[in-house]
């Protein structure tokens, strides 16, 4: 029987092998390696448009060349950066956030784009052309953007307390507040609250922010990233800072949730398409970028992701507006606030020294835990008990051997 099972497994392997061989049968197809955030493209699920398949068709029809999009995903800018920096892989397209783009430009990790190959760039809204992280707009084409705001549950939070970052420091909601679980965004909330420049290099300013985060710690339920979805939807927390697009996703399952941009100012991010150095198919990559900016595709992506699109074709598309309003009646205002009425700023790439200081301060905050002492006591007790047991056995052994 065991032999039979092994034989079956072998058979399965052979079968899989053939399937995979058939799968990549057309060897003449050029592979375009796209490296994007997870769930950051309309992929055909839940009846949406499969953008990558559409590009393959489009490219074949237009240029007569078969292209196969090899689409892989990452969870953070830093993951993507580490992978590219190791120099081990070659991607044709990556989609980092603005501060990472700045850093990659500084480290000469991006190819210059030929905007002549990307005519649809003209549809990018003016405020996202020639942005401060890429002043000559040589390296990046914006894909999505969004702002951090505060999400709160209208059943648990008094409307009068909202409007400012101070809600996150309001001890009326002790144990119901969530905070970001990464240094930059968490310090960001405190810095915007205290109107400190988030790109400051001044240690005292960072320490002021740390003092605020420490003061907030006792009333914070937890430091979270993607867990925020379940906690807010399931109402185990009442207040959390997160991105506007993600608020809409949460609102989808719990319509008691509401959202506002704090009056003190907030962070705005842009994720933009770039071609990393060493890309093997730069021209196809540019065609891909251009394709992503065409109306139908950009609308499909914007509807799927739920983040704001910097593409004017999307913002003016009536189907899109109808879709978003159907999702949340105020969706267009939430996603596309008039940027001039809010104080917003980008995160800049921090220099190594400031980065290290920020990480150090963040560690300080995370290590100083309120349960720390009790855990130490518990560990100590366990160690003592184990030692006592060992000693007892040792004595018993001695005693017994002495008796014989």
């Amino acid at each position: 029987m065991i032999k039979r099972i092994l034989a079956l497994l072998m058979l399965a392997l052979v079968a899989l092998g053939t399937v995979s061989l058939i799968g990549c049968g057309d060897d003449d197809a050029i592979t375009l390696n796209v490296y994007n955030w997870g769930e950051y493209i309309s992929d055909g699920s839940e009846g949406t448009l499969d953008v990558n398949a559409a590009f393959e068709d489009y490219y074949y029809e237009t240029y007569g060349v078969r292209v196969e999009v090899n689409y892989t995903t990452y969870a953070s800018n830093e993951d993507m950066y580490a992978k590219l920096k190791s120099g081990a892989t070659s991607y044709d397209i990556v989609i980092p956030s603005e501060y990472m783009i700045q850093r990659m430009i500084d480290e000469d990790m991006l190819e210059e784009l030929d905007l002549a190959n990307i005519p649809n760039f003209a549809y990018i809204a003016e405020e996202f052309q020639y942005p401060e992280y890429d002043p000559d707009n040589r390296y990046s084409v914006p894909y999505t953007y969004g702002m951090v705001g505060v999400i709160y549950n209208t059943k648990m939070v008094d409307e009068a307390d909202t409007g400012s970052w101070s809600l996150m420091w309001n001890d009326k909601y002790s144990g119901k507040i969530l905070q970001f679980n990464n240094a930059r965004d968490a310090f960001g909330t405190a810095m915007y609250y205290q109107k400190i420049d988030v790109n400051t290099k001044d240690r005292t300013e960072w320490e002021t922010a740390l003092a605020y985060l420490k003061a907030q710690k006792p009333i914070v339920q937890g430091y979270v990233m993607d867990e925020v979805f379940n906690k807010m939807k399931g109402e185990s927390a009442a207040i959390a800072p997160y991105y506007a697009g993600d608020y809409l996703t949460m609102y989808d399952s719990n319509d008691a949730l509401a959202f506002y941009y704090p009056e003190e100012g907030t962070n705005v991010f842009v994720d933009a398409m770039c071609v990393p150095r060493g890309a093997r198919n730069k021209e196809i990559a540019e065609a891909y970028i251009n394709f992503m900016l065409s109306e139908e595709i950009a609308v499909a992506n914007a509807e799927y992701i739920g983040y704001a699109s910097p593409n004017t074709l999307v913002r003016e598309n009536e189907d899109y507006i109808a879709y978003m309003v159907d999702w949340h009646e105020d969706a267009m205002n939430i996603l596309y606030p008039d940027l001039s009425t809010y104080t917003t700023s980008y995160y800049h790439a921090l220099d190594a020294e400031t980065q290290e200081m920020a990480n150090g301060l963040w560690e300080q905050l995370k290590i100083e835990s309120s349960v720390g002492s009790s855990i130490h006591t518990l560990a100590l007790i366990i160690v003592i008990v184990v030692a006592a047991l060992l000693l007892w056995r040792f004595i018993l052994k001695k005693y017994r051997s002495a008796q014989y």
């Binding site: 497994l9 997870g38 769930e39 950051y40 892989t89 993607d226 379940n230 399931g234």
Partner: protein, 294 residues
């Protein structure tokens, strides 16, 4: 006392299986809400079967797990055989502990060091795609081998040392003695080793993460990258299907283990058959000689 012991077992089983049951339950939820069960539906299963990305990743993971487990089972079994035959106790002990290091090592250390090695060698060879399916396969084989050895080595130790000798005595070539006598003896260890290697490779994230290139994304890496937004319940559906598949496989192996004739019977069978064959051969030779002399 009986109630106490029974409730203890129940508690342990609950701790082990309640999370899995909850996952299974929520894979049948009608919305993507993980806090509240809003109604029964198979929507996420339909969604799963529509998701090409997930299936590609699943296919990759299975190809990788099966091939790395097979190769590492062969290598690991041969290594265990070699170790078993080794005379020097010191050398044996040293090699044994050295092969255990990858198992004890934190995954991240193994992952990063392998990545550095691959990049270094790739640079020497001047390849553009330094990490690809093959590097991932090598990495998986590497961390699977110790698990196979761990399962096979004890079987060699348990095996009657005289069995292979007897086989050689009865006219087997060394290869025949290995395949006909020793391999059946150590087979349970080989199979467990294979299954362990398969599961280790199936759910490895850290090492795969560092050693995979742009061409090959496995399921754990895909699921991890989903945490930027949120993991959708179609992944719960996939996990449910995988758990059911593994459970069926386990039940099948256990059932067949009970029914199959015991190893000893098989061995004594083949030994007696061999003996008979030898006897007839000897008899034939003897009669031939008789014929000559007459």
């Amino acid at each position: 006392m009986k109630i106490l012991s029974k409730s203890y077992i129940a508690l342990i089983l609950a701790v082990l299986y309640v999370p899995i049951l909850v996952l299974m339950l929520f894979s049948f939820n009608s919305t993507n809400n993980t806090g509240v069960f809003t109604g029964f539906s198979t929507y996420w299963y339909e969604e799963l079967f529509r998701s090409a990305e997930t299936f590609a990743a699943l296919k990759n993971t299975l190809i990788l797990a099966v091939s790395s487990a097979l190769i590492s089972t062969v290598i690991g079994t041969l290594a265990a055989l070699g170790l078993d035959r080794m005379r020097s106790k010191l050398l044996k002990g040293t090699i044994n502990s050295v092969t255990n290091v990858p198992m004890m090592n934190p995954d991240i250390v193994t992952g990063i060091s392998m990545m550095l090695l691959f990049v270094f060698v790739g640079t020497l060879l001047g390849s553009t795609e330094k990490l690809n399916f093959w590097t991932l396969l090598i990495a998986h084989i590497t961390f699977n081998i110790p698990y196979v050895m761990l399962n096979v080595s004890p079987k060699f130790r348990q095996m009657d040392k005289f069995l292979p000798e007897a086989a050689l005595d009865l006219g087997c070539t060394p290869a025949q003695s290995f395949f006909k006598v020793e391999l059946p003896c150590i087979m349970p260890g080989v199979v467990t080793g294979f299954i362990m290697a398969f599961t280790m490779s199936l759910d490895d994230f850290v090492i795969s993460y560092f050693c995979s290139g742009s061409d090959f994304q496995t399921l754990p890496i895909l699921i991890y990258s989903m945490t930027k937004k949120e993991v959708k319940p179609d992944i719960y559906a996939l996990s449910t299907l995988m758990i059911i598949a593994i459970l069926t496989l386990l039940i099948l192996t256990n059932l067949s283990g009970d029914k199959g004739e015991s190893l000893k019977d098989k061995l004594s069978d083949s030994a007696s058959r061999m003996r008979e064959r030898m006897q007839t051969r000897r008899a034939a030779r003897a009669s031939g000689k008789d014929g000559e002399s007459q």
